[in-house]
Amino acid sequence: MSATTAAISDDMRHADGYSAASMSPNEEPFREPLILGNPTMHDISRKIIGIIESEVTFKYLATLAITATLAVWGIFCIGYTIATGIGVWGLNNPVAWGWDITNFVFWIGIGHAGTLISAILFLFRQKWRTAINRSAEAMTIFAVICALTMVVIHTGRPWFAYWLFPYPNQMLMWINFRSPLVWDVFAVNTYFTVSLLFWFTGLVPDFATARNMVKSVVAKKIYHFFSLGWTGSTRHWHVYEVAYMIFAAISTPLVLSVHSVVSFDFATSVIPGWHTTIFPPYFVAGAIFSGFAMVMTLLVIAREILGLKDFITLKHLDNMNKIILATGMMVGYAYSMELFVAWYSKNPYEWATFYNRLTGDYAWAYWTMVSCNVISPQIYWFKKLRRNIPVMFIISIFVNIGMWFERFTIISTSLHHDYLPASWGYYSPTWVEISIFIGTFGIFLTLFLLFAKFMPMIAIAEVKGVMPNAQPHHHEENH
């Protein structure tokens, strides 16, 4: 048992009164069940496939309409940008990266929770992950799609963005391997590909379940196609488990590498505020922080609307909040270390940049970031608040705001005030940039809503595996 679970069960001991209420009297007293309501395996299948099978509600359609409108508006603004030039954004000299790259890093960061949950927590045998890993992975995919969109359209000539790939060409031109942006291309694409395959692998048995249970002929055919002829034989299960393990092993370093590489974009530069060795771990911690916050935001809504409270329990949310608290303190540490090093280095440029962050034109962004990321998660020291749905919903949004501002602070405030005072400037976004950012949310949420409706949102096979009666346990006589 890993240290994390030990801590959790330790924690449980002090919270007996609360947790016992929802447990059968014969259960192990110190361990909360991962699935509530004691459903049968068929119940689980029916419940989750039921989401696919159920009628489309008005509420769902209305939500989808809103998100799709935002997505279409965002895509229109992207088209406008490409047709006119990125001058329609507010970027300038010296601030040549603004909301575009802020959004890119933000979305890449969001994606991190998915991989962390599906890979690292899997390897650490954190069984509570099963209820949330599918949607977290889906979120990863969709977030990376948004991130890739941002990074493609931020170029001046996006129609040549494919030049960033190494491919044989008539120009006999090779990419510049010294550029962190090239590392980024590799890192993000690898990440996307692996995440997609990992997600799909996990989905295969569930597609098969869906294939078996849906009534519509067309849907059956589609699920049939994606289930790759899954029969549930032991051999299939064996191959599946091995594949899943391998993907988890491949994904684990990616969790660390992707955001480290993204941070290299800044860390390897010469700009004060960017050129910082603390960036890789700081960025990874921040990514997990923001990713968990985003998972939290979505799950709190999903379990409410889709009636998944038995699957996504307070225990899951509590665990996630603990991670948010831990990673929030990590970024808080990074903020203070950055400041300390800037002061301690006696480098006038470095210190001027950080002093400017604290007090300059963008001080409001810095203090928003600190309030949201460092101060607000501190309330998670209290278990009551960790398990309070409205509180965690608000905090998760705060964290996302804070993490967005973190990237903005790093990227834009460093640029607007660098070496030569004569070139200092100020940057503010235009309606186009804001629309595109909102549009990426539209794309993200639309994809997520479609996913929630048409794919098994909870890993059915895995959840079955963590049900109390799926495990060999000491109280055989009770079953």
Partner: protein, 1002 residues
Amino acid sequence: MSSSVPSRKKYFKSSETFLSPETAVASNTGEFDSPPLQDDKPLFESAVSRRSFMAVLSGAMAFAAAGCRRPDHKLVPYVKSVEYQIPGIPNYYTTVFQHKNAAYGLLVKSSDGHPTKIDGNDLHPMSNGKVSAFAQATLMNLYDPDRMRRATVNNGDSTLENALTHIKDAAQAAIQADKSVRILIDEHCSPTFAKLISEVETKFPKIKFVVLPSIYADGTAEAMMKSTGFDGEILPNLSAADVILSVDSDFLGTDKFAVYHTVNFARNRKPEADKPTMSKLLAAESALSLTGSNADKRILLKPNETDDFIFGVLKEVLAVKGADAVGAEVQSHIAVAKSSHNAKLAAEELLKAGEKAVVMVGPHRSVAANAAGFAINMALGCVGAGKIIDPVMAIPNSMSKRPGIATLRDELKEGNVDVVIYAGVNPEYTADRELKALLTKVHKRFSWSLYKDETALTASVNIPTAHFIESWGDAIAPGGVITIQQPIIAPVNSASVPTADLVLKFTQLLDTSFLPDFTSYYDYLRAGYTSYFPNQQTWEKALSDGMISAAPAATPVAIAYSAPGMAQALGMKDKNTPSDIVCFVTPSYSLGDGTYANNSWLLELADPITKMTWDNVALMNATTAAKIGVKKGEVVIVSGKQGAVEVPAFIQPGVADGVVAVALGYGRTAAGQVANGVGDSAYKFFGAGESVGYYAVSIEKTGKTSVLATTQNHHTIDDEREVVKETTLAELAANKAGGNGTVKLPISLVDDYTYKGHRWAMTIDLSACTGCNSCVIACQSENNIPNVGKQDTSNGRGMHWLRIDRYFSRTAEGDENVEVSFQPMFCQHCENAPCENVCPVAATTHSPEGLNEMTYNRCVGTKYCLNNCPYKVRRFNWFNYHKKHVEPANMLYNPDVTMRMRGVMEKCTFCVQRINHGKYHAKDQGRSRVKDGEVTTACQQACPAGAIIFGDVNDKTSKVVESRKTVRGYRVLEELNVRPSVTYLEKVRNREAKAESAAHHG
């Protein structure tokens, strides 16, 4: 070329001959035009009819340029080669630019038949190969699509003949009715045009020419007239001066002779540790001028203190030199003068230098102040042959402006004038209200102008005139140097005619017997110089040199000093209008008087002091602003007695309390699409007989705010960053000047790259740089840099590859006064370039010659390089800025430089196209290396101060290697180990002690 060639037509000739080639052929026997300046090209070898060819070619271009009619000539491909014309190889021709009455010899680059760059002619003593930003930018007006396209009569399209006949008929009627015809012209310095004028005035007594310049300042000339009998000014030679006291004289800025002065001034501003001498500039002024910005000591005066100040200096000087130096009659004035602390200090400095000192007083200041300045100069002994003020360098005020205009005013009041022809002047924009009203009462008004400007709109007949680059003419410079102004291109807009030709045609229409031998002004001009040009070769040589070497030097004007006259002049002090707030109305650093305002190069050229573009502002210091209660950017109404302007307030340190400065040249309403409605016109302050100077005003707030498109914002640097460095002469002499000697660079694991061939590098001498902006326009013109407009400029998207960073610092006194440092900033071509390694597609790479190169075609536009550039000198094409340009503006571009599309990064290339031309040239001559000085960058070529040195550091004898050895040398941000190729030489201020560790403001 043999004269037996049939059907020879002229290319660089007057427009009439161009327009009707038949007559040109008929009249063209034995006349030749200038060969291009290519020393290695034989002049008379080809028998091919180059001119017919070029005429067709340029004709086609001109018609294409006109754009509103189908071309009726066809472009002829180069089946046979054209003499002097190798496709892709530019030719260079000399001509002259008359900036009012200042003549600047030019060298114009002509690419495939059309001018693409204006440079100074290095043989011409006024320009010394240098040129102002303003003169360079006039090229844009040449190709301005907003130029008047064709003659109009009563707003209907017409022909030249028809329009001229209209004017002739009106003039004839007026003359018959015993009424006058007045032709209003601008200031000029053309001897032939002056001759033509006098011939016309003799032949037609009813026709008179009146010089109606947009701005004029006679203070100096009047003082000279009174005290010496010479009506005019004498151009001082500042290179010989050890101490210069400028009393509100902006000789480095708005002065017509600023380029000449900058060249000479800068010669004595480059001290070295082993030769620690330089001139000392003391500047007493009320607003912060470019001259004041370059001063070693700046004395901040309120406008009404100026006369007292200069009288105080005179008193102190005479106390030492003895009153006899200027005559006993002035005693009464000296006796009452009070000498302030600053006056004593200035006098002390002047006396120390003796005859190596000179006082320059702004011609817009009172006659008394100018007289006092001259008296000091007399007392110091700097007047005389071979001295700083050498009477041979006289600028006669022969067209005495103020009296001429006063006479015109009287004539108009009396109603004697029936016909007014505006020939290149724009009184509707520049004149005072009374004169404007009087002019509109004139029965018939006609306009000959480049644009359908404010005045042209009030005229019944309009004839488009040719640009100076399209016209024949001549100009005389102080010292007697005469330059033939030769056209480099037939009028881009075929309907336009040079003004002088119009004068000739018009008068010949009035009386066919007038000057019957001449059908064009060119013939007239040429005939006037027959004695200097016995044969074709001498004519061609004069055109090729850009000056007539056979012409005799000017005879020095007689300086008959008269003490009573001086005493009288000293009595003509400023009549101070009591006012809390005084407005200083001065020409704009970018637009000048506004004649060429429809010019985006000039409109987007940052004011050297304020860094403002696309607007004029009311400059005031923080105290004045607080008193009025305005903040930067708040629009105020500045009201004078005659009129008011509505401009945003701008807080400018270094302006005296209670002074507000507003620049002229803005507020055009009919300049063209670009300039219309930009800013407000400060001409509105002028009453009858008034021009540049100080006006009592009141200021009220409007409650509106305006976006200020500055290229640089105000920030305080309160840390130890040393971007711009300075020292004092005393410290330099002690050899302590900083440089970056203390910077310790990290040890590298790899060996440095060895540059085997050339290794290009540049040095910028901050001590010489005056911030004049010449280099900025030179770079823009050479490298096809687009303008982005006000909106984008205010958002920091200006595209200038070369910008001049300006920093203010507090003076030791810590008062309202400031010190200014200029720092030209552009790509530093770092050896360890941070931009290069971050480009994912290798679009920016290092050349084996040390250049940081940008491959536009490969650029995807991630902008990462811009972010990672510590100097922020990379420029991104946010939009397709070039797309906006319509014909014929596209002819402006340098064909040697690629146009950049949107989404692409660009930046200074060290003029790589010039380097390549230099290398081809060397290769042609069988050399493997370019010689030092063979390749000049555009900025270097234009820099009047000679502050830019470019060359090959692998050539150990090159000037750039020499310049890098000085202790003044440092590299900006050297501690980053980016290893820039540009060395800056510390600015040296000529004074003893270093100022308080001055906080710089960006």
